[in-house]
Symmetry: C2
Subunit: 459 residues, 2 copies
């Protein structure tokens, strides 16, 4: 039976074929948050299941109230089983006009400093990352016949819209999904040369707030000056949600936020990350966050109140002299440490109530919240995976926190009792969720090689 | 030659035919602010010109950079000439789902208290009002052969989008448009039984403000807490534009606002208009305006800062964890007394500047402003028209102010040297600019009869 070297060579020689398969996956517009793309989501799930079947997995596409969940598994009786999680859905592409090429026509590109890239919606988040794992499996099967561990692959299609159906699915299939360790490939590297394992994530809570005023749109000439304008009311609420120092003003918002351990704080200070270095690449230079906090704290260990979208009144071309009857804000909170989504919900409703005139109405719509998550630093699998990554990249991985949220990690712990290793190969300049999203070719290639080594190490 | 009585009888007996002609006009979706309806605007202009030609007018459809202007005139050598102004364009219909029947399928309806109505976009503003005048001309021609005065009819198609091309048109055609008095039918009655002549109007100034932050949309997990959110910046600006007392906080905003004459104020106080009585019909009960002002002051003699529309970030279905790169507010100011649009523009820009972070940008787009207008109370034509209205309605017309803006009135004064009588038959419950706009059948019928009497009186 061939060994690691042959398998890694197989990854290298098979790279073009791997990219061809990835491009076919990227070409499917599986935008989960927009019902118009339901069929595309089905198609992406089907392609993933078909791919895994081709690798000798028993694959099933499970329908849900939303988009399907793909579960595929090997049962060779290996000593250990890993559960790999990823998602086949992607973010919406708007604003479309800012894309240099169509978002679902994958192409090769290059960064200003000459790194070769794959450009498409989902190139990194999460289709490209998922394929690093699938192509690693393919190379191992091709060279060694069998995998060193049994593998369960779980691919959902609603990660970009809050995974509404995943908790129920995990509860219903907890037994089948049991594993010794979970692997999630939806995070980033420290820099293009340094791999990382993410050991902390922020939680998330989605809210939609609509202020309702008059029972119809009003002529701003006849009623302007007396009639309440819900856009003004909503703007004041949003405007007052942060103080001059960038601190969220919701009552008790920071109650359950804890300070990072001294050594972590020391490491952060050592990084010398500044607003200029962190925000410069996206055209900003001044941090909007808490003035007395490090930038890395602001995006990793501090909670946020963020308006992701806001709309009310006339938004078309030209002008319309109208006072709208309602205005809406789409809001998300990033949660840290011990913050409880339920307490945050009550805090926001308490913050809004006194700011709504008695003859107006505040209508809330809440998503299911997810708490923040911290991976145990003493996990033996963490040590094994770190060694495998160092062997591939020639430098020890940095263990970092992420400001993002991957609720499934917490659910694996609570519903399956499984710890998760968050290992991904994304980079800060990948433009995930933005126009012209990309994934470095090196991330894809060495990411695939990394999984070969990690699966070996976890055996 | 037949007299007034016969002409009024002709209006009565011809009512059904008049309504048929109005319905054909209402069926044209001449939404001027949306380029998609340019052809419909052309069609409405053509129908108006054709109608006037049929009444013996010399009618011309003048193309402009935007929608055409219709000018039609008689030249019988009568002692006096009146210039009638109206507009054939209408407001957008959104939100379409709130219309009980299609906005451009005119129908008869009824108010809860049994008044018969015409329901359609433009039923009142301004197609229905324009037709009261055209059908009055028709009845006079039919019964008397000639009009008692020479008439110039000026119909524009951009009133609902700020009349960008009208000032230039008036300047270019000032000579042809000269008249002894101008008549504008785009205002309302005091109540369903009491006519009115509007003697004051608020001016208007349109602005669009866009806050630009990062050079791309950002992932709110990776950047949230450090990256500036332009929706937050814009919301704070809008939220701070009014104080707790409903007063606009822009520097010097009230400098050129004057107090109404004592007798006007006394009359206003006598009206006993309250927030409950004024706002109750639209589902509100508390005034949003300056706490120390009468409601009627708030909507007529006090200036406003109003956001007519606001949008930024993700506004589609579901959620998107994004920090937008920009957010926009469509704003209009209602101006009173001596307020100068240019000074208000500078005041708002000065208000915004210190509220925009140094690494963000505020982009302004301004429309041409219009000052407030006051009709001289001692105009003999005002007296004549008032007598004619009293003869028709059996009660003397109330001279009132309007919070709306009809910039053309100021331009008639400055560019043509003509004073304007604002006489209209709209009602507070007509839902102009809102879904299910209507016009009372009585407004249309007696409005037509009123013009017959007024034209006679002005001879």
């Amino acid at each position: 039976m061939a060994g690691l070297t042959e398998t890694l060579q197989q990854v290298d020689t098979g790279l073009d074929a791997s990219l061809e398969r990835l491009f076919a996956f990227l070409a499917i517009p599986s935008i989960s948050t927009d019902p118009a793309y339901a069929d595309a989501c089905k198609a992406a799930a089907a392609l993933a299941a078909e791919t895994l079947t081709g690798l000798g997995f028993t694959a099933t596409v499970h329908p849900t109230a939303g988009h399907p969940v793909v579960v595929a598994r090997t049962d060779t009786g290996a000593a250990r089983r890993v559960l790999f999680y990823g998602h086949y859905d992607v973010q919406p592409v708007d604003p479309l006009e800012l894309w240099e090429t169509p978002p679902f026509a994958p192409r090769f590109g290059a960064t200003p400093d000459g790194r070769r890239t794959i450009v498409a919606r989902g190139a990194c988040d999460d289709k490209g990352q998922v394929f690093t794992f699938l192509e690693a499996l393919r190379a191992i099967k091709a060279t060694q016949g069998a995998l060193p561990v049994d593998v369960t692959v779980l691919l959902e299609g609603e990660e970009e819209c809050g995974s509404p159906n995943l908790p129920g699915f995990l509860a219903a299939h907890a037994e089948d999904l049991k594993a010794d360790v979970a692997l999630v490939c939806d995070t980033g590297m420290w820099d293009p040369k340094t791999p990382s394992i993410t050991t902390s994530l922020r939680g998330i809570l989605h809210a939609e707030l609509t202020i309702e005023a008059a029972d119809r749109d009003l002529h701003s000439g006849l009623f302007g000056g007396a009639a309440r304008n819900p856009i003004h009311v909503l703007s004041r609420i949003i405007g007052e949600a942060h103080d001059e120092n960038g601190r969220v003003t919701l009552p008790g918002f920071y109650d359950d936020v804890v300070e990072p351990p001294a050594e972590v704080r020391a490491r952060w200070e050592g990084l010398g990350l500044t607003a200029e270095t962190f925000l410069g690449p996206v055209g900003l230079s001044i941090s909007a966050g808490e003035g007395d906090r490090l930038v890395i704290e602001q995006v990793q260990s501090r909670p946020t109140f963020e308006v992701n979208g806001m709309f009310g009144g006339y938004t078309g071309a030209g002008t319309k002299t109208v006072i709208a009857s309602r205005a809406t804000a789409k809001i998300s909170f990033r949660l840290v440490a011990d913050q409880d989504p339920e307490k945050i919900r009550l805090s926001f409703e308490a913050f809004v109530a006194p700011r709504v005139p008695a003859d107006c109405k505040a209508v809330f719509s809440w998503g299911e919240g997810a708490r923040a998550f911290l991976v145990p630093a003493d996990s033996p699998d963490l040590t094994r995976a770190a060694a495998a990554l160092e062997a591939e990249w020639g430098v020890a991985p940095v263990t970092i926190g992420s400001g993002g949220s991957i609720p499934v990690v917490g659910q694996f712990k609570t519903r399956l009792g499984v710890d998760t290793l968050l290992i991904g190969f994304g980079l800060d300049d990948d433009r995930v969720h933005s126009p012209n999203e990309k994934y470095d070719l090196t991330s894809f290639h060495k990411g695939t090689r990394s999984w070969v080594r990690i699966l070996e190490a976890l055996a």
